[in-house]
């Protein structure tokens, strides 16, 4: 699965000529450097790799990509970052790796790069970066450790980030006079009305497979319904009224969903929607371009896109990937230049035009992009409500997440009592947190 690509010869040539004619610029010092970057196999990064030759042409910095499946990537990075001298100059990381890497002091704090007048591009416009993403993926050390706040600082920049939107079948909804779901009540009503109105079609396709998928699906509903996993003192509150409501919502959705829902991962759920077996799909924006591709989807052109429905508040998921510079990287400055270039207004738009997920508000508003992907404006709007705290990003999360996932799966398949199930999760989560020292100051 290891694929390496070098963009080289042209760049070296251009670089030497740039220096030779006395033209300096920010990149001149690093021309000819070869950066080794670690990217996941993911549509966004496939798009990014298409624009890398442009970077090389412009800067003379060569880029070698080590592309891995995203779950393998984390294992590889865990080993690589613990070395004295690492192989990677820039890594893409999954959002929940942030806690582990920052906690183990393995990522560069980006402050010193943005302070360096020779490196930082004054036209970068960081305020244009999608705020929820930056907080969720880039910042650590503030409130609760993983959120921004007075003591927080930046360790990575969102690149390939995702939020959730609702895709629904416009034709089916119009046929039966159902309105576009704006609230959770409307969503759940529609989800269970459709199987009766359209025999053989499920209401909403959702992830639900045991483990991470079931947990993800539950948390997706928890935030908009007003719940959280922990309160501000790290006491589990997952078993309060909002938690129960979120679990009930998930159960309703799965019960009224397409056949076999209980074992769905995200790909299966997306397939159910694109093959017409379900009328709605509430998940990451990364899946949406696929629905408009007639060669893979039988519903192309019939899909409407809406914001993640509102419960007591708006709160769509935040997730996906960011890019960061490892502490043990060899060419940190050049890596920063690549990072800055990829997430600049120009780079972000180029990647988006190739099918990537934008990291900037301005990209979503771009006329050219909206022409190519008509749903871009809706996504941009949804992003203002992206919730960076829809799940905690702490080192103990892996274990708690797995427990939520298996318990939810039991609720869905074995009809376990919801309150009892969530009480169990809360109790076990408290024990895990206690052991990890979260109650030391109480």
């Amino acid at each position: 699965m290891l694929k390496s690509i070098t963009y080289g010869a042209v760049a070296a040539l251009l670089a030497t000529s740039a220096i030779a004619d006395g033209h300096g610029g920010p990149y001149a010092e690093y021309a000819g450097t070869t950066l080794v970057v670690n990217f996941p196999a993911h549509p966004h990064y496939n798009a990014a790799m298409k624009v890398l030759p442009e970077f090389t042409k412009e800067t003379g910095i060569e880029v070698e990509v080590d592309q891995l499946p995203y779950l393998k990537m984390r294992e590889r990075q865990t080993l690589e970052l613990a070395q004295d001298e690492g192989e990677y100059d820039l890594i893409a990381y999954v959002v929940f790796s942030k806690a582990d890497y920052v906690f183990a002091d393995q990522l560069e704090n980006l402050a010193k790069y943005f302070m360096d007048p020779k490196l930082a591009d004054p036209s970068y416009d960081a305020a244009d970066l999608i705020d929820g993403y930056v907080q969720n993926i880039g910042v650590a050390g503030g409130t609760k450790g993983y959120l921004p706040g007075a003591t927080g600082s930046l360790f990575g920049i969102p690149f390939g980030s995702e939020t959730s939107v609702l895709a629904y079948r416009k034709d089916i909804f119009e046929k039966h006079g159902i309105a576009e779901p704006e609230t959770y009540d409307q969503l759940l009503d529609a989800a269970c009305a459709i199987p009766e109105l359209e025999p053989g079609m499920g209401g909403m396709a959702s992830r639900a497979a045991s483990g991470h998928q079931a947990s993800h699906a539950f948390l997706l509903h928890l935030a908009p319904l007003g719940g959280r996993v922990f309160d501000d003192a790290w006491e589990p509150i997952i078993n309060n009224a909002a938690g129960v409501e979120a679990a009930e919502a998930l159960k309703t959705i799965v019960d009224c969903g397409p056949e076999g829902s209980m074992a769905f991962g995200p790909a299966e759920a997306a397939n159910a929607f694109s093959s017409g077996a379900a009328a709605m799909f509430l998940d990451s924006i990364a899946f949406m371009p696929g629905f408009e591709d007639p060669s893979r989807s039988s519903v192309a052109g019939k899909v409407g896109y809406a914001m993640h429905p509102m419960g007591v508040r708006r709160g769509s998921q935040t997730g996906g990937f960011g890019i960061a510079i490892p502490k043990n990287a060899e060419n940190k400055e050049a890596a920063f230049l690549l990072m800055q270039w990829l997430t600049s207004k120009k780079g972000d738009l180029m990647v988006a035009m190739e099918g990537g997920n934008p990291s900037r508000f301005s990209t979503y508003q771009d006329a050219g992009l909206n022409e190519k992907f008509p749903f871009s404006a809706t996504f941009g709007e949804a992003l203002e409500f992206a919730d960076p705290d829809w799940r905690p990003i702490i080192p103990t999360w892996g274990k708690i997440n797995a427990d939520i996932g298996t318990t939810m799966s039991k609720v869905l398949t074995e009809d376990l009592d919801i309150q009892e199930a969530l009480d169990g999760v809360a109790e076990r989560a408290r024990a895990i947190m206690d052991e990890a020292g979260y109650y030391t100051w109480q």
Binding site: A82, D100, G260, A263, K399, S409, L412, T413
Partner: protein, 303 residues
């Protein structure tokens, strides 16, 4: 004097390479794992940075309901598949131990499943179990039966069926080999004495095959305790923890929960369990052999 000593040393000298390789390839990693199980060890840390916590991981696991559940899933899974595979495999071998035309082709066909990569087996069965477009449910609906939620309500059974499909051939070929190497004289004598086919199987063939069968069973049992890929692909341990066998839990603990120490402790529990099985099974064989010898002696004395 020195010649004598050299003579005494020779066997050790010849054994040395094997002992060294064994030490490096087997004992070192095993020792590493045992040592690791006493640590609170995160994969981001080097082993010397990890904190020594003694038996804490073992105690935590012992009180961990999820681990106990996956242990019981493992025991149910392993005993179910090994029993079913032994019955089917030995049965098939007894049936096919004759000169049928095209026998070699048949035999090759029979052992095909175990040559397929486990991940492919998992994917294949996952598609066959698919609730709407899977082979089984399409077949059931065509014949007017209710659909079955294979990987939902009956996940463990479905996983067991897939494993039986893949590994029965293993028992089959080993039993067939054992059958064909049985002393023909004993069988001939039985036939002359008028033993029926069934009596031949129960009183002659099975007892004579027993040593091979026990080793085969042990191999399968050890394998069944460690099976990972097929279940990972088919159910990922779900729904709930209903198909999460210990091997899968170990892998999740190491990668998802990032607790290498606990994962090592789990492996050690599994190792201890398997050791107990192995020792018990060899003890049973020993006892049986001893009993056989005693009977033989008795018969001799009486005769």
């Amino acid at each position: 004097m020195s010649t004598a000593r050299a003579n005494r040393m020779t066997p050790y000298l010849f054994m040395a390479p094997a002992a060294v390789i064994m030490g490096i390839a087997l004992l070192y990693p095993l020792g590493y794992m045992v040592y690791g199980s006493f640590l609170d060890w995160d994969p981001s840390q080097a082993i010397y940075e990890a904190e020594f916590v003694g038996l804490k991981n073992y105690v935590t696991l012992w009180n961990d309901a999820a681990f106990r559940e996956s242990l019981s899933v493992t025991l149910i899974f392993a005993s179910a598949v090994v029993t079913a595979e032994m019955v089917l495999g030995v049965g098939l071998a007894l049936l096919l131990d004759r000169n049928i035309r095209g026998m070699s082709v048949l035999r090759t066909l029979f052992i095909l499943p175990m040559m397929i990569a486990p991940v492919v087996v998992g994917l294949m069965w996952r598609y066959m179990y698919h609730p709407t477009v899977g082979t089984f449910n399409r077949f059931l609906t065509d014949w007017g039966f209710e659909r079955v939620d294979w990987l939902g309500q009956h996940a463990l059974l479905s996983v067991i069926i897939a494993d039986i499909w893949q590994w029965t051939p293993f028992i089959f070929i080993l039993s067939l080999a054992a059958l064909q190497s049985l002393p023909r004289s004993a069988l001939e004598a039985a036939r002359i004495d008028g033993a029926t086919a069934w009596q031949q199987i129960v009183h002659i063939k099975l007892p004579l095959m027993m040593p091979v069968l026990i080793v085969t069973m042990l191999l399968r049992l050890i394998d069944a305790f460690k099976v990972l890929e097929v279940i990972l692909v088919m159910t990922e341990g779900g729904p709930g923890l209903s198909t999460e066998i210990v091997a899968l839990r170990i892998s999740r603990t190491a990668t998802e929960f990032r607790e290498l120490g606990t994962a090592a402790a789990m492996s050690n529990y599994l190792l201890i369990l398997l050791l107990i099985f192995t020792v018990a099974m060899f003890a049973i064989t020993r006892a049986q052999e001893a009993r056989g010898r005693r009977l033989a002696r008795q018969i001799e004395e009486e005769g």
